[in-house]
């Protein structure tokens, strides 16, 4: 492993953090904007290194960096990339420059602070995604929370304080329980293995070695933390508030990446660590997810506020991701559904991110997000209309957009596992088409009923610059899914077929002979 590969992840994590300090301290706003954007772009380019040098055939952890941190407790700085987090990392690094671009001409107070907070947020997101040590993960997980708290609380709407406090309290309550469960897991591992470690790679071995006493409770604690973040019905009540009150950048990053932390956490922590509990609780969670899908869709349908509608649609769409993560066929997870779930996370990030951006654009022009204030915008803003329609179609899951690939794979896998669940969930797709198209119709078509709307100008060059990449990528993901699927297939297949005795090792490091690994069922890696 060359030296770039050994440190690339640390670079991606800490470059934004460093940039945020510089941005906060720079006296000139102009320079600060350029520095922030350049740093986020550099981070994105660095993350492309992962994309190009990632070995898609390997199920091992790649680009690993491990440093002792609290050696006495077995806590280390352990980061790495596999097929489950690769695309999410890229999504985060891809969205951040676009976010910075979208606030380039920010008119409110504290432009520099906002940029600095977005960069800290990027650091937290990437850190949480690449962390393979429970304590490290927890720290990044909470680091993510603090900038978001300020973004909603300072630059948000009228009820911002209520929304942001609720957001923090919900998240922290869940994650503190997760922390306690993680400590319990840590001690159990210490007793069993004879050494203490918070490394996930070590903790995974517990499940393979025959499970953990009290596993159900530990699983529930982890599940709660992630379910709040996803958010899984009925833990979703913070989300509509947070989304409605947040400024556009906040909503985009919240829907784009932060919510995925919940589903990612399920895949990375809850499922492989507690497989027996997963088998026990999967039906109930599936039920909650289906309720969430239908409930989210129905609630989205009756919204009058565009942002609230997109927020509830997120509840519905993330329900699909949870479904896909827990479709159990026989004693394995369905690889198709799991692949679809990972794919859908990315696609939802892109399409919902784009939707929030677009809603933000009309809000900037009209200071309203109510459907009743719009209508006929296609006439005055044709390019805006085009972008909105593509984003909508991707959100619905029309073939040719990324949404189709993700939802199709999920429903395919779930149907094999639980046909009834799949059928019920499909109603969410239909409802999705209903409310999303209604939304499009109310905003874009029909006669222009408000005089103010006649003067609206179409997208500016800067707006083009940040919305086009999202839309193009959405379509690209629908047309060339294999390009992305090939990166995630091995890791997902490995998790799906071995979830009851999951194990992960660092690429290039061969486990000692005494370290008996359970056999890998290579044939079970499904090749669609």
């Amino acid at each position: 492993m060359n030296s770039i590969d050994a440190h690339i992840i640390s670079l991606i994590i800490f470059l934004p953090l460093l940039a945020s300090f510089v941005v906060a301290l720079l006296p000139s706003l102009r320079v600060a904007k350029i520095v922030a954007f350049a740093a986020s772009l550099a981070t994105f380019i660095a993350s492309l290194h992962l994309w190009f040098h990632f070995d898609p055939t390997s199920v091992d952890l790649q680009f690993v960096e491990q440093l002792p941190w609290m050696p006495e407790l077995g806590v280390s700085y352990l980061v790495g990339v596999d097929g489950l987090n690769l695309l999410l990392i890229l999504l985060s690094t891809f969205l951040t420059p676009l976010l910075l671009l979208s606030i380039w001409e920010f008119s409110g107070e504290g432009h520099k602070s906002l940029m600095a907070l977005l960069l800290v947020l990027e650091c937290g997101m990437i850190g949480a995604l690449v962390a393979f040590d429970v304590v490290l993960f927890y720290i990044f997980w909470e680091v993510m929370l603090i900038p978001m708290y300020f973004i909603i609380g300072i630059w948000g709407g009228k009820n911002r304080i209520y929304a942001t406090t609720k957001f923090v309290i919900y998240t922290v309550s869940g994650s503190l329980l997760m922390l306690v469960a993680a400590i319990a897991l840590y001690f159990y591992h210490g007793e069993q293995a004879g050494f203490y470690s918070t490394s996930l790679l070590d903790l995974y071995k517990l499940a393979a070695a025959g499970g953990i006493p009290g596993e159900e409770y530990l699983f529930l604690a982890f599940l709660l933390a992630f379910a709040i973040k996803v958010p899984l019905w009925p833990f979703h009540t913070w989300l509509p508030h947070a989304h409605t009150e947040a400024p556009t950048v906040g909503s985009v990053i919240l829907a784009g990446v932060l919510l995925k932390m919940g589903t990612y956490g399920l895949l990375r922590f809850a499922i492989p660590l507690f497989p027996q509990a997963v088998l026990l609780y999967a039906p109930s969670i599936l039920a909650l997810a289906v309720v969430g899908i239908v409930y989210g869709a129905l609630t989205a349908w009756v919204q009058e506020d565009a942002k609230k509608m997109v927020a509830y649609s997120s509840v519905s769409h993330l329900g699909f991701v949870v479904l896909g993560s827990l479709a159990i066929v026989g004693n394995q997870l369905s690889a198709e559904a799991l692949t679809g779930a990972v794919y859908q996370m990315i696609n939802h990030g892109l399409s919902t991110g784009a939707l929030f951006f677009l809603v933000g654009m009309i809000y900037e022009r009209r200071h309203s997000r109510m459907f009743s204030d719009f209508g006929g915008l296609a006439e005055v803003m044709p390019y805006f209309a085009l972008m909105l329609i593509i984003a909508t179609l991707s959100s619905i899951g029309l073939p040719g957009t990324g949404g189709f690939v993700g939802e199709f794979l999920i429903l395919l896998g779930v149907f094999q596992a639980q046909p009834l669940v799949a059928i019920l969930a499909t109603s969410g797709v239909i409802l999705g088409a209903l409310y999303m198209l209604t939304f499009c119709r109310k905003i874009l078509f029909g006669p222009i009923t408000h005089v103010a709307n006649r003067q609206l100008v179409d997208l500016s060059r800067r707006e083009y610059l940040y919305i086009t990449p999202l839309i193009v990528l959405t379509v690209f993901m629908g047309v060339f899914p294999e390009l992305f699927l090939s990166k995630i297939r091995s890791s997902v297949g490995h998790l799906a077929s071995n979830f009851q005795h999951y194990h992960l090792k660092i690429a290039g490091v061969h486990p000692a002979a005494s370290d008996a690994e359970p056999p890998v069922d290579e044939s079970a890696v499904i090749q669609p």
């Binding site: 002792p68 941190w69 609290m70 050696p71 006495e72 407790l73 806590v75 107070e109 304590v135 927890y138 720290i139 990044f140 909470e142 680091v143 929370l145 603090i146 708290y149 300020f150 609380g153 300072i154 911002r160 304080i161 942001t164 406090t165 923090v168 309290i169 922290v172 309550s173 503190l176 329980l177 922390l179 306690v180 400590i183 319990a184 840590y186 001690f187």
Partner: protein, 487 residues
């Protein structure tokens, strides 16, 4: 007992030199009150710095590990560490005070001398394993503190706080003496090691239980653990802010120095009961402190309740201590370190803000602080996050280690209560942040944005960076250091 006078070995004088230096300096400062020097707070400040510097030098260079005078003075790595903490924080607080509005009120010869005597008492207490000198140390510090609370800045509230502290404190002192008497009666010795050996080998008896519980309750009073907390909000609010900070930080260090030494043995000999008693006290403190803090409008009162809650968290680690396992003690020391550093940061900022306003500040006064003083607001936010136990601050790791210690002993219920209390505490810690960042500016008007001089700014920045570093890059190092203390 020694019947004839034998000259003490010179090693004793060397080991005791920090105490001797500090008392001589304190006496000199007291004496300087009769000269014209005392009129000038600057002179007193210089003398104070000399006193601290000389004592610190003594602790660093002359400390000779060993046991002297039948354990009346025990110098171990742990005691040196605690003395350094006490001295360091007291010195930093004195410097912060000098650059605040309290300069004229505090830098008077008699008050500074008292301050140093209190510190002396704390240092004696933390490096003694003999009941008599422990008691003397505790009393020197307590009596000085009663006075400091009431007289540093005389208002009706400070007198009220001082009197309450005095009355209830005397009660606790009596309780402590009573406890000591029982312990002496049961074990026949005043030396802690002998006593602990006797306790460990003997049978549990009623008198032993009474003695141990009285002792620990009295110390719980000093920590303001529920149900011995009534004095603390009034004393905290009434006292001048530098004294409040001094109580928050140094009294906790002092009391825990003894509890760390004895609790393992006490709980061992008294069976599992102690865990429940301390557990109950800690749960009550965490919940009571955090819930009461929710409804306060004065910052110092809020922090007083928050300090009760933090004593509760520390009591979790105290409850799970046992001989042979130093992890709870180290977790506790880490928590203490992070709490002390955070308190220094928070109280330092409050002191600076008061400097602007010249009176106790209310939560509402903080509205829009971030717009006026972004760095102060940033520092206060770091402090609040650390108090609330959110990463990446020292407060998180402190809680993490304490939870670790408790889970290791299987006390899930205790940890779950602590989690609930932590969530409750988020409301008021975040409320302060909300006030600073999410409201339109209130009372603080900019006249001179550079009103905080360089020295306190440096101290506050150092404390803030320390809180963050302790939560991110330093914990491994600090844990290793603490490991060294317990050998």
């Amino acid at each position: 007992m020694v019947s004839t006078f034998t000259p003490l070995p010179s090693s004793f004088y060397q080991a005791a030199s920090p105490f001797l230096v500090l008392s001589v300096c304190a006496l000199l400062i007291l004496l300087s009150g009769v000269t014209k020097l005392a009129k000038n707070s600057c002179c007193i400040f210089v003398l104070t710095n000399i006193a601290f510097g000389a004592t610190l030098l003594g602790v660093c260079c002359l400390s000779l590990p060993g046991r002297y005078l039948q354990d009346a003075l025990v110098v171990t790595p742990l005691s040196i560490f605690l003395q350094l903490l006490l001295l360091g924080f007291a010195w930093l607080l004195a410097i912060l005070t000098y650059f605040s509005h309290l300069r004229g009120d505090f830098f008077r010869s008699e008050l500074v001398a008292l301050y140093l005597f209190v510190l002396l008492g704390m240092m004696v207490f933390s490096s003694s394993e003999d009941l008599v000198s422990l008691f003397v140390g505790l009393e020197i510090s307590s009596i000085g503190l009663y006075t400091l609370v009431g007289y540093t800045r005389v208002t009706r509230f400070s007198l009220e706080g001082g009197i309450k502290y005095l009355v209830l404190g005397s009660f606790a002192t009596a309780l402590l003496l009573f406890g000591f008497a029982f312990l002496y009666a049961v074990t026949g010795s005043l030396q802690l090691p002998v006593m602990m050996a006797a306790i460990a080998s003997g049978q549990p008896s009623l008198w032993l239980t009474l003695g141990a519980s009285f002792t620990i309750f009295a110390l719980g009073f000093k920590l303001a653990l529920v149900p011995f907390q009534q004095w603390s909000p009034d004393a905290y609010e009434g006292a001048a802010t530098n004294i409040t900070a001094f109580m928050t930080i140094c009294v906790k260090i002092m009391v825990l120095s003894l509890l760390i030494k004895i609790l393992g043995w006490v709980s061992e000999s008294l069976g599992g009961t102690w865990v429940y008693v301390l557990g109950l006290m800690s749960v009550a403190s965490m919940l009571f402190g955090n819930i009461m803090a929710l409804i306060q409008s004065s910052i110092k009162r809020m922090l007083a309740y928050s300090s009760i809650a933090h004593s509760g968290y520390m009591a979790i680690a105290l409850g799970v201590m046992e001989p042979g396992n130093s992890f709870p003690a180290r977790a506790l020391l880490f928590y203490l370190l992070s709490y002390a550093l955070t308190s220094l940061l928070v109280f330092g900022i409050i002191l600076s803000l008061e400097h602007r306003q010249g009176e106790a500040i209310q939560l509402n006064d903080l509205k829009g602080l971030a717009k006026r003083y972004p760095w102060l607001a940033c520092g206060l936010t770091v402090g609040m996050l650390s108090f609330a136990g959110l990463p990446p601050t020292a407060g998180f790791l402190g809680k993490f280690f304490v939870f670790n210690a408790a889970v290791q002993e299987g006390h899930f219920g205790l940890v779950l209560c602590a989690v609930v209390a932590s969530v409750i505490s988020l409301f008021y810690y975040l409320h302060l942040v909300v006030m600073m960042y999410m409201h339109a500016p209130g009372k603080f008007v900019v006249e001179n944005p550079n009103w905080i001089s360089l020295v306190p700014r440096g101290i506050l920045a150092g404390a803030g960076i320390g809180v963050l570093a302790l939560g991110t890059i330093l914990p491994g190092l600090v844990l290793a250091l603490l490991q060294g203390l317990f050998g």
